[in-house]
């Protein structure tokens, strides 16, 4: 797996990524997922990462990018072609 931009988050990121990949391939793709089982681990990772993003001023840049991406959300978050 890839590293985090914040080295202090690497451990929790690794645990989350491993959990996610297993869930994705064994449950999600097979249509048997009802919840995102890795969410508790993601919350821990996010707490660590958010701090680093804020310290580096990246959170502001992300807000702008999110606003730019609204059209894609509108287009791809509705189930199409089925």
């Amino acid at each position: 797996m890839s590293a985090s931009l914040a080295p202090e988050c690497n451990d929790v990121k690794e645990r989350y990524d491993t959990c996610f990949l297993k869930w994705y391939s064994e449950k999600y793709l097979r249509g048997s997922a009802t919840t995102d089982e890795c969410e508790p681990l993601f919350k821990q990772y996010k707490t660590c990462l958010s701090k680093a993003l804020k310290e580096r001023g990246i959170d502001q840049m992300l807000e702008e990018a999110r606003a730019d991406n609204k059209e894609n959300d509108a287009e791809y978050l509705r189930p199409s072609g089925r």
Binding site: M1, S2, L5, Y16, L49, A65, N69, L77, P79, R82
Partner: protein, 192 residues
């Protein structure tokens, strides 16, 4: 604005490609040393539609040409924001990304779609890759400069796209090999 497009067919199933897409930049990829980090910013799964939305932040080593470096205020990393949408029922992965850094000079909006291959290039276990990038330079009224920057950027984008594909092929091959070895070990264990 310049448009770059490319298509490719991977000899792997959509399930394998979409799974390995998450670890495209892992150490198995020997063509991605410029990718320093990949962080997940958010992930939401909707059990009603089965859609999975993921936001990621990709940190790369700065790859700007030397003549642009004085304008980059000493930032040593370039950042890319990516939002992906997986539809496991329609079997479609759509990834939209844009640059966060250097965006005062240049915007690069990329869209990548992975779907099962159909038609002539199709058959079970193949995946179609479609890539489109819109590159726009923004430097006041200097049309010539803008044109040069766009030309340079499209060329570089094309080189990187080819490397990206090669690296991903390697990740797919390694993943299949590791999976097979694991199965063999399990089978040997069960038979013992």
């Amino acid at each position: 604005m310049r448009l770059f497009t490319s298509t490719h067919t991977f000899d792997y199933s959509w399930e394998e490609v979409s799974t390995n897409n998450w670890r495209k930049y892992c150490p198995w990829n020997d063509k991605a040393s410029h990718v320093l980090a990949v962080d997940t910013l958010s992930r939401s799964f909707d059990p009603a539609t089965h859609l999975l939305r993921t936001e990621r932040l990709i940190t790369c080593r700065q790859a700007a040409p030397s003549w642009l470096k004085p304008f980059l205020a000493g930032r040593e990393e370039s950042l890319v924001y990516e939002v992906s949408y997986v539809d496991p029922v329609a079997k479609r992965v759509t990834m939209c990304s844009q640059n966060l850094t250097m965006s005062e000079f240049l915007t690069c909006a990329e869209k990548v779609v992975y779907t099962p291959a159909t038609g002539d290039g199709g058959g079970a276990g193949r995946t179609r890759f479609e890539q489109e990038a819109r590159i726009t330079a923004l430097c006041g009224g200097w049309a010539k400069v803008r044109q040069k920057i766009e030309e340079f950027s499209v060329e570089r984008f094309g080189q990187n796209a080819a490397r990206g594909r090669e690296g991903f092929e390697r990740v797919l091959a390694m993943s299949r090999q590791v999976f097979r070895e694991q199965r063999e070990r399990e089978a040997a264990g069960a038979g013992a």
